[in-house]
Amino acid sequence: MSNLLATENVTKKFGGLAAVNDVSITVKQHTFTMLIGPNGCGKTTLINCCTGILKPTEGRVLLGDTDITGWPTHKIYEVGFVRTFQIPLPFLGLTVLDNVLGAMRNSGEAPLKAPHRRLWLKEEENNMERAMAVLHRVRLDKHWNKPSHTLGAAQLKMLEVAKGLAAGAKLIALDEPIGGVDPASADEILSHVSALKNEGLTFLVVEHRIDIAAPYADYIYAMDLGRLISQGTPQQVLGDPKVIEVYLGKGATEAC
């Protein structure tokens, strides 16, 4: 398995605070890689640095062999790397389905082509089929035609995940995909992600609900205070005393 995403000594400073400090991780192809760590340790910031929302202060981000450091977000999307947001950012004026369709590629987005329906209709239909399938998996298919501002909190989270999954990328970063989602649905979403992984996609997932998510993980990175503190298979990392101390807490120790 080759490396799909690699960060090389990425550092991000906000004023004096180094939110991410010299972090190098690699995400191998066709894996479910998890990123864990206490609140504010820099997980979201790291993903933001990888996807162009923020520019790293130092270090490089590589996607395959391409250096994508500092690229704008939409260009990173172009090369097959999408992300979802921890706090959902839906397109409130669009329907649930259009939210998902909008995250997919369609050549009808060029203003010169847009007025000629013939040129993009087929594409749109295929997209819709796929979008509906994804919505089905996150249990939003019933709501496909609702404006997204009428969804509840967890449903928005699922929509956010659906947008990521449908985008047709090879690497998908999910920032807390199951926060606030009920355990049954959470399992369903993650098993879907797992199925996609088996079909050839790669995932980088941030999640606090270790009990539900860890079983799906192939590899885990743990961070604290902006630095990597542990990495390895789930067993190794979750058993690591450092991780237990800063992240999992005593309660979890006993279980392991």
Partner: protein, 390 residues
């Protein structure tokens, strides 16, 4: 199953807002035609058509893309000034008449413009060509100003952008008023009239031409926005961060929207000055060319192109009625020393407020629905979604 779906199609066709809008408009016009005669209808139509184009362009930028375009007058001015300044000069230069900086000076105009119009009214070919050139020049200058305004639009947000545009709209008007070689400063410049060739039917011809232009713009915008492009615009409007994460180039999309919108508004400005036959810089005030279109847009329903037509039509008819019937209906106010003249402002204000309070989404609310035709959506839905992914 099949008959049921055709029935549903028929029903959705009837409830289709565009069709409703067209029917309502036709009914209003027929009413005026029978009760007040053709001139009234033409009067309404020409006002309607010019402002419909402007309002639709505003809707593209504001309703779809979320740019607070409080400087609509900028693009209208660009089109009007360009058509006032350039095509006439070109023609004059061709004919060996003064076409330089002094072309716009009152006394020169006074000699040149009858000759130009005479030349145009002699040849269909020339008139048509001239009209075409006017429109192209208007479109180009509109696109130019759209591109220019898109530069700050990248950096400035919301109110900052809206108010900057508003202020610069005022400023551009003053430039036209002060810099004589542009459009004659305070003493307007004449636009050679390509419709003079219709002789006595000139007014009717102009009205029909502008009306057709408005319909064309409508058709174009409708096709342009009911498409993935339109959806991308709305994504940018709703959430820029999320839109860029979904692969949309915010800068590019905002620029595209501003360029297309401004181009259309400039064409409307160009058509308007061809219709009036003159460009007076001071005529391009924010009240008329920015705020009225905004009011039309609010009434029509932000984000809905068909709504724009309906909104402009309703308010145009209303404004005409207010102008004409003010004294008859509200004459009694004179008893209290209130001049019904001012009711035009009162009523326009009341309409804006009423619409916002009681019809917050306008006459034709923005449609939240798929851009695919309903039949295709249904067939996809009926297939079930277990279908394979990727």
């Amino acid at each position: 199953m099949k008959s049921q779906s055709t029935q549903r199609n028929l029903k959705s066709l009837l409830l289709n807002s565009e069709i409703l809008a067209v029917v309502a408009i036709l009914m209003a016009l027929t009413f005026f035609l029978t009760t007040r005669g053709l001139p009234m209808v033409l009067t309404i139509l020409v006002d309607f058509a010019v402002f419909a184009i402007i309002t639709m362009s505003l809707n593209l930028e504001t309703g779809f893309t979320g740019i607070p375009q409080f400087g609509r007058v900028l693009a209208v001015i660009a089109g009007a000034f360009a058509v006032g300044a350039i095509p006439g000069r070109l023609l004059a230069a061709l004919m060996g008449l003064p076409a330089g900086l002094n072309y716009t000076i009152d006394t020169v105009q006074f000699q040149v413009s009858p000759e130009l119009t005479a030349a145009l009214s002699g040849s269909w070919m020339l008139s048509l060509l001239f009209l075409f050139i006017c429109l192209v020049i208007a479109a180009l200058s509109g696109a130019g100003i759209g591109w220019l305004t898109s530069r700050p639009a990248i950096r400035l947000r919301e109110a900052y952008l809206g108010i900057s545009l508003l202020a610069f709209g005022d400023f551009l008007m003053w430039v036209g008023h002060n810099w004589v070689p542009l459009v004659g400063g305070s003493t307007s410049v004449f636009v050679p009239d390509p419709f003079r060739i219709f002789g006595g039917a000139r007014f009717e011809a102009v009205v029909i031409a502008i009306f057709l232009a408005a319909l064309l713009v409508y058709a174009y915008l409708n096709r342009l926005t009911v498409s993935p492009f339109g959806r991308a615009l709305k994504m940018v409007r709703d959430n820029e961060v999320s839109a860029s994460a979904a692969g949309k180039d915010i800068v590019k999309i905002r620029t595209q929207s501003l360029v297309i919108g401004s181009m259309l508004a400039a064409i409307a400005g160009g058509l308007y000055v061809i219709y009036t036959g003159t460009v007076t810089a001071m005529g391009y005030s924010r009240l008329v060319w920015t705020f009225w279109p905004w009011a039309f847009m609010m009434l029509g329903g932000i984000g809905s192109t068909a709504g724009m037509l309906l909104g402009v039509m309703v308010l145009t008819i209303m404004r005409t009625l207010i102008t004409v019937y003010r004294f008859e209906v509200f004459g009694f106010l004179m008893a209290w020393g209130i001049n019904p003249l001012w009711l035009e402002f009162t009523l326009m204000g009341a309409v804006i407020i009423g619409v916002i309070l009681f019809l917050p989404h306008g006459l034709v609310p923005e449609k939240v629905q798929s851009i695919l035709p309903a039949s295709r959506v249904n067939s996809i839905l009926s297939k079930g979604f277990g279908a394979k992914l990727q």
